[in-house]
């Protein structure tokens, strides 16, 4: 078995393990972290259904960002939407037969990659040239952009310039997915190796980085709470145990 095939196969298993369990642990941690205060940003929805709609509008349309800064919103929206299309297009390497939706996404994904790069470059420009953003930017902020740009640029180069044997590459990925440890040989074109290395690094760094905003948004108390502090008293379970104030005795508590 060739060195690169074994190297990338093991790296992929390792990175997937880190990503899945890291992400799972983080979500678990978010879920058990107490939210002691009732702090939805008003005007906030009065019902659970309303909260679902609010969260969806955050997740799908980045509503808060739109209200605070239009052009960052534009770059962010372009980048995230293009990333979705590109990710859907990449599903073709992970399934056989390929779903019709994924087949239909192929031509869009191909050009979506340019939009993705455009959005990323916009966000990078913001970080570098808007003075106050530049001042608060940490190395990890640049690292995320750098990794995503590396993935995007090498991907575009593979697709449009240097090429690789995608049939053999799919066979390699499927042999990983089938846990067939007699792995299919991986093509070793330079750009493909760069592309995959950046993907593996991003997968490993994901559960430790600000990319956790993806699951994190669902756990933001200012966004996921119902605005009903008078109808229903907000008590965290640990506070009940700690201070022996049972929710039943709430009526006598002076507020």
């Amino acid at each position: 078995m060739e060195f690169w095939t074994a190297f990338y196969a093991i790296s992929f298993y390792f990175a997937t393990f880190i990503l899945l369990f890291g992400l799972g642990y983080k979500v678990y941690q978010y879920a058990i972290t107490p939210a002691p205060l009732k702090i939805p940003t008003t005007p906030a929805p009065l019902t659970t259904g309303g909260v679902v709609i609010r969260l969806l509008s955050e997740v799908v349309f980045f509503r808060s960002l739109f209200r605070s800064n239009k052009w960052i919103w534009l770059f962010a929206m372009i980048f995230h939407l293009a990333l979705w299309i590109v990710l859907i297009r990449h599903l073709r390497y992970f399934m056989d037969p390929v779903w019709t939706l994924v087949v239909l996404a192929q031509p869009f994904g191909k050009y979506g990659s340019f939009l993705m790069l455009f959005g990323l470059l916009g966000l990078l420009m913001r970080r570098m040239f808007v003075t106050r953003i530049c001042y608060i930017s940490a190395p990890s902020d640049y690292l995320m952009l750098f990794l995503l740009l590396t993935i995007g640029i090498s991907g575009v180069l593979i697709s449009f310039v240097t090429r690789t044997d995608i049939v053999q590459f799919k066979a390699f990925i499927l042999s990983l997915l089938c846990f067939d440890f007699n792995w299919q040989t991986m093509p070793t074109d330079a750009m493909l190796l760069v592309h995959l290395s950046a993907v593996i690094l991003l997968m490993i760094v994901f559960p430790f980085s600000k990319l956790l905003h993806a699951p994190g948004i669902f756990f933001s108390p200012t966004r996921n709470q119902v605005d009903n502090p008078r109808e229903k008293r907000h008590v965290a379970p640990w506070a009940v145990k700690e201070f022996e104030t049972s929710p039943a005795s709430t009526t006598t508590t002076s507020e």
Partner: protein
């Protein structure tokens, strides 16, 4: 919490099931590519080295299509008709499949696998031609 634990167990179970399946069946889906009828030369199986053809046959078909149609350039070494004549093989009953009829068609076996559209055959035929002696005009070398 219970839901999380349940999801954790479920994902572990799925992984395990996949592992057991994969190892016992050991079936990685692969494209079934029919063998070509002959070699291009003693040293080389196709018109260009095999690795090169696997990565870049699209360039010949697409870019040379432009050269042929717009600029009247024709080459004998890279010709769609010759690809089809050599690569598309008959099934058990001796019939040649078209690209739309059979997933065992040479082009389709990989193109379906990789979900890449082929638009050649909206105009061209995907079956070998019995007599390939069309007047192709002045031939230029590459």
């Amino acid at each position: 919490m219970k839901i999380l634990k349940f999801l954790g167990k479920l994902s572990c179970g799925l992984l395990l099931a996949m592992a057991v399946n994969g190892v016992s069946a050991g079936e990685v889906p692969m494209p079934e590519i029919p063998k070509a009828k002959s070699n291009f030369s003693a040293e080389q199986s196709c018109v260009e080295p095999t690795d090169f053809m696997r990565q870049r046959h699209g360039l010949f078909l697409k870019h040379y299509r432009h050269d042929t149609m717009r600029r009247g350039m024709r080459t004998l070494q890279h010709s769609l008709v010759a690809c089809i004549n050599c690569h598309v093989t008959a099934d058990e009953s001796g019939n040649y499949p078209t690209v739309h009829q059979s997933s065992k068609h040479f082009c389709r076996s990989c193109h379906t696998y990789a979900a890449v559209n082929i638009d050649c055959f909206q105009c061209h035929t995907s079956k070998p031609q019995e007599s390939f002696s069309v007047d192709i005009g002045p031939v230029q070398s590459d």
